[in-house]
């Protein structure tokens, strides 16, 4: 370290600044110059607890991590905190050697390089991704103790890329084309079938996330973003799109991500993530510092479009108040809501329910279980309840 250290006195003398220009308070502020800029910034060391939660899994390759929703502001998830679900680990891919082939029922099968994608017209859109299994534990009456553990397989980013429709225009669809198979370049070559109707509507071939390249664990260098649908179909590390005339019935659309009903049948192609909300503050794992004013805030989202209303109950579901929705309110994106609350210091419970632009209202857990039973734990979207104790503790049960 050869950096010259200036004392405050020397600094004042050198700059001729007056004491009045400096902050005067009882708080400590640095007497020494801090370090200079760095090539890639990191959060403050005081934010070290704001990290993804990695549950213990049998192997590192087949694993997941959860976003710390209780510590998030606004609607964008920092890229390094985006939830992950991997079935064959994170591949390391050199973009110079990565290509995406589009073939099948097309007039002109083509192979695109990353440079091709960057040259094509692009769009940027804010969309949430949610794992089909997010908060499935709530359905089977095993509520998780904080928002990260209950709803943390949920994140929202600004995605930049080429509309898949533009690419399908380049290859030209042949008659009979009705589905596509998207495949990743991970070791297990994850593949999902997607109806062409959706592919031509709003699917993106994305290379950008929150203003920079995708993170490796989010599909670097290029992935699908299938807005509003269960996260698994947004194939990461995209390497191949095959236009076909039928769904190909991969294991991830038959054996997994299908919901088993009480009558023994299972639901298939349960793509859309229905309207759902969760209070992230005050929420489980947090502690209220006595009676007084608190802002209740949380997130609402719907795979069918925009959130039009979010209601909050602060009296264990007896009455509901309409919460304020923070701008922007975007389709298939997280929407931040807030409600002012004067806590009287008594035991109560907090819960939220949202309505989307189709008029669909988020159901209670009991209403959902009455229809779907206890074995269809994917695509759960019931109301989440947090219990406030008189001592200020907020619990999940």
């Amino acid at each position: 370290m050869t950096q010259t250290r200036l004392t405050r006195r020397k600094f004042l003398a050198a700059t001729g600044a007056t004491i009045g220009a400096l902050p005067i308070s009882g708080m400590n502020f640095p007497k020494d110059m801090g370090p200079g800029p760095r090539p890639y910034g990191e959060p403050s060391p005081f934010e070290q607890s704001v990290v993804r939660f990695l549950p213990k899994t049998s192997t590192p390759a087949s694993s997941y991590s959860r976003t710390p929703l209780q510590d998030m502001f606004g609607i964008i998830t920092p890229s390094g905190l985006h939830y992950e679900v991997h079935h064959s680990g994170v591949p390391e891919i050199d973009p110079q050697n990565h290509e995406v082939m589009i073939h099948g029922l097309v007039e002109r099968p083509l192979i695109f390089t990353m440079e091709d994608f960057h040259r094509l017209p692009s769009v940027s859109r804010i969309h949430f991704l949610e794992c089909a299994g997010n908060s499935g534990g709530e359905q089977i009456a095993r509520p998780a103790r904080d928002p990260q553990r209950s709803h943390g397989l949920l994140s929202c980013s600004e995605w930049t890329g080429v509309p898949l429709r533009t690419l399908l225009d380049q290859v030209g669809l042949k008659p009979g084309a009705s589905w596509m198979v998207a495949e990743g370049a991970d070791a297990g070559r994850m593949a999902r079938s997607i109806p062409l109707e959706k592919a031509l509507d709003d699917v993106l071939v994305a290379y950008g996330q929150n203003g920079e390249a995708l993170r490796p664990e989010q599909g670097y260098p290029v992935r699908l973003i299938v807005p509003g649908w269960e996260g698994n179909v947004s194939i990461k590390w995209l390497r191949r799109v095959q236009v076909v005339d039928q769904p190909y019935m991969s294991a991830y659309e038959t054996a997994h991500y299908t919901d088993l009903m009480p009558d023994g049948t299972a639901r298939q192609f349960t793509f859309v993530m229905e309207a759902k909300s969760v209070i992230t503050r005050p929420a489980g794992g947090q502690h209220l510092l006595g009676a007084g004013f608190y802002k209740i805030t949380g997130l609402a989202w719907s795979g069918r479009g925009r959130i039009t209303k979010t209601e909050v109950s602060v009296d264990s579901g007896k009455t509901w108040q309409v919460a304020q929705l923070n701008e922007p309110i975007l389709p298939k994106a997280l929407t931040r809501f807030r409600l002012p609350w004067w806590w009287d210091g008594k035991e109560t419970s907090l819960q939220s329910r949202c309505t989307d632009e189709t008029g669909y209202l988020q159901p209670t857990r009991e209403e959902l279980v009455a229809v779907r039973g206890l074995h269809a734990t994917d695509h759960y979207n019931g109301i989440k309840v947090w219990y406030v104790r008189a001592n200020g503790e907020v619990n999940h049960e």
Binding site: I111, E197, M249, L361
Partner: protein, 184 residues
């Protein structure tokens, strides 16, 4: 036949897309050669589209299974620790303790072939040849009582294997839960 049955079940699949209208051509991307397509295209459909030529017997599959699969899935496909069971569970789907396995749940034999071909063995996915994949698929189906011990599978016979839960799937009927708030 598969397709017709599916179209009846799922309105979603019946949407054939009319050719796109006039579109801007950017002349980017290079043509994919038939060789390049052949090399990358590993997709397999329920009607057998995409299955490579090959064959494998239950007996051949047993040898491969014992070497590469039994360590995790157990010698009879019963599953071990966190590794899923491949057998059992038939007639449990309506019960309070359903067990979803290849035999009790998976609707298509082609899916079994495709999953083994893509993802197995777990630590070295994609290393089985088509013949080995037919053989292991045959053995797993034999363990489930779906094939007999003398059976052989190939690209023609595999799509015709009738899985016990073939008709157990319905298309997404949501929105299915109509919330009726007591205090609107």
């Amino acid at each position: 036949m598969n397709k017709i049955a599916l179209y009846i079940t799922c309105a979603l699949t019946a949407v054939a897309i009319a050719a796109l209208g006039q579109s801007q051509q950017y002349k980017l991307g290079r043509p994919a050669t038939p060789e390049e397509i052949r090399e990358l295209d590993i997709s397999v459909a329920p009607d057998g589209s995409g299955l490579p030529k090959g064959r494998g017997t239950v007996v051949q599959g047993q040898g491969i299974y014992e070497t590469l699969c039994a360590n995790c899935h157990g010698d009879r496909g019963q599953g071990m620790l966190q590794y899923p069971a491949l057998t059992g569970g038939q007639a449990t789907l309506k019960s309070s303790d359903p067990l979803r396995t290849v035999g009790s749940y998976w609707p298509y034999a082609t899916t079994v072939w495709d999953y083994i071909h893509r993802k197995m063995p777990y630590a070295r996915p994609g290393t089985l040849t088509p013949d080995q994949t037919y053989a292991v698929t045959a053995f797993v189906l034999y363990l489930n009582g779906i094939l007999n011990k003398e059976a052989e599978l190939n690209e023609t016979t595999l799509p015709h294997v009738k899985m016990p839960n073939r008709n157990g799937f319905v298309c997404d009927p949501r929105p299915d839960v109509r919330s009726k708030p007591k205090n609107p």
